[in-house]
């Protein structure tokens, strides 16, 4: 790894100051992607600002019907949270399936969302559930947050502090894992919420996480496995790589969606 300066931020102000002092600094919130990337020399931030010790960044709570998850809450903590299990069991289930146990003890929801890996699980959940990303500056709806491969609406010096989830009537996430990386080859999140049925797909899109109009149309009239399997999911705009062609992924999207509907 190239040299880097580590700063443990005690407060948001502290973190903003450290990020402002070094243009090349990055936020460290779990490091399960960032440190691995730095080891490969694919990233070389000259500074790392650790936000995990900032008060209020860790934990889950219910605010009426809204579930609030602190940005530095680990996947294991989300999976084991009584509030999450009560509010949106699908989210606890999703968190319990990220990577492996050691990764889940370190990786955080804020880190995953900010990184927006095209095969990460959380972006699919946020987009399907209509979540809101809370930062030190504003609140950003999931629809406006994710912006292509590894892209987000976050500005320089903007730090995610929490993610807020409204309650869904039904929700489930099912993925087909790439067995070596444990990332989703295709993951589908289905949710029935106040603004209708939303179906999101991770692992498959050329531009990262996306809503599947075909599945949403098919499931809106008929919330059933058969409807999901019969949806007209196109291979256009899907990734092709050594793990699978776009056509294979298109088929997997329908199969994962059908399983998710059955589980919801």
């Amino acid at each position: 790894m190239y040299p880097t300066k580590y700063t443990k931020a005690a407060s948001i102000d502290d973190a903003v100051k450290a990020l402002g002092a070094d243009e090349e600094a990055k936020i460290l919130s779990g490091g399960q992607t960032l440190i691995a990337t730095m080891k490969q020399h694919l990233a070389a931030p000259t500074g790392l600002v650790d936000v995990r010790s900032i008060a209020g960044m860790v934990g889950t709570s219910l605010d009426g019907d809204t579930l609030v998850i602190g940005a530095a809450t680990t996947h294991a903590e989300v999976a084991g949270s009584a509030e999450v299990q009560k509010h949106t069991p699908a989210l606890a289930c999703l968190a319990s399936g990220i990577g492996d146990p050691a990764v889940r003890h370190a990786g955080t929801i804020g880190g995953s969302v900010a990184n927006n890996d095209p095969a990460a699980d959380y972006p699919a959940a946020l987009l399907a559930l209509g979540a809101t990303v809370v930062t030190n500056q504003r609140e950003i709806g999931a629809d406006d947050f994710f912006d292509g491969l590894f892209g987000t609406a976050l500005e320089e010096g903007e730090i995610i502090t929490a993610v807020k989830f409204p309650k869904a009537q039904a929700a489930a996430y099912v993925k087909f894992r790439q067995p070596a990386s444990l990332f989703a080859l295709v993951g589908v999140f289905v949710a029935k919420g106040s603004d209708g049925i939303r179906v999101t797909v991770t692992g498959a899109g050329d531009e990262g996480v996306f809503r599947s109009e075909a599945l949403e149309a098919a499931l809106t009239g008929d919330w059933s496995e058969a409807a999901a399997k019969g949806a007209d999911v196109s291979a256009e705009g899907l990734m092709s790589d050594i793990h699978g062609t776009a056509a294979y992924r298109a088929n997997l999207i329908k199969v994962m969606a059908a399983r998710a509907v059955a589980a919801a």
Binding site: P3, I35, K39, P101, V103, A106
Partner: protein, 156 residues
């Protein structure tokens, strides 16, 4: 450089570390605790798993500087005079061949059994295989590792 104070295998340790020092490097090169192995460079193999505040993490994907104030347990810290039940079970069931992955397997196994016991869940063979997804062994074919973890679960 960042000054870090932590407890490693019950002993207080204070050192200056650079920002990019990985916990695995710190344990092996500064503290000479070479039982923690580095098997891959991609955070996938699990040979480097240690416990930080009782939880299994990959020390090769953790910064030493971020571990300030933590309690770290490595494979060297498990035995207390006698082998830990997990170590004894790996020996008994021949849960290793070359032994390179074994420290990580054992640290992950102990973490898993502790969590399952706390939650009152049964340590089934299927559960062990699922929990050891982040630990890769190139020799054994895993069968004896699974047997060892299940056996240790009855003795921990």
């Amino acid at each position: 450089m960042t000054k870090v104070k932590m407890t490693v295998n019950g002993k207080a340790v204070t050192r200056e570390v650079s920002g990019e020092t990985l916990l695995s490097e710190f344990l092996r090169e500064d503290l000479r605790l070479t039982g923690t192995h580095i098997g891959c460079d991609t955070s996938q193999c699990g040979a480097c798993v240690v416990h930080i505040d009782g939880k299994a993490v990959k020390s090769c994907t953790t910064l030493a500087a971020a571990t300030d104030g933590a309690e770290v347990t490595t494979i060297e810290g498990l035995a207390n005079g006698d082998l830990h039940p997990m170590q004894a079970a790996f020996k008994e069931h021949h849960g290793l061949q070359c032994g390179f992955c074994t420290p990580g397997m054992i640290m992950s196994g102990v973490d898993m059994v502790n969590r399952y016991k706390a939650e009152g869940r049964e340590v089934t063979a299927e559960a062990v295989r699922h929990e050891l997804e982040g630990n890769i062994c190139r020799c054994t074919g895993y069968h004896n590792i699974v047997k060892a973890v299940q056996d240790a679960a009855t003795k921990m």
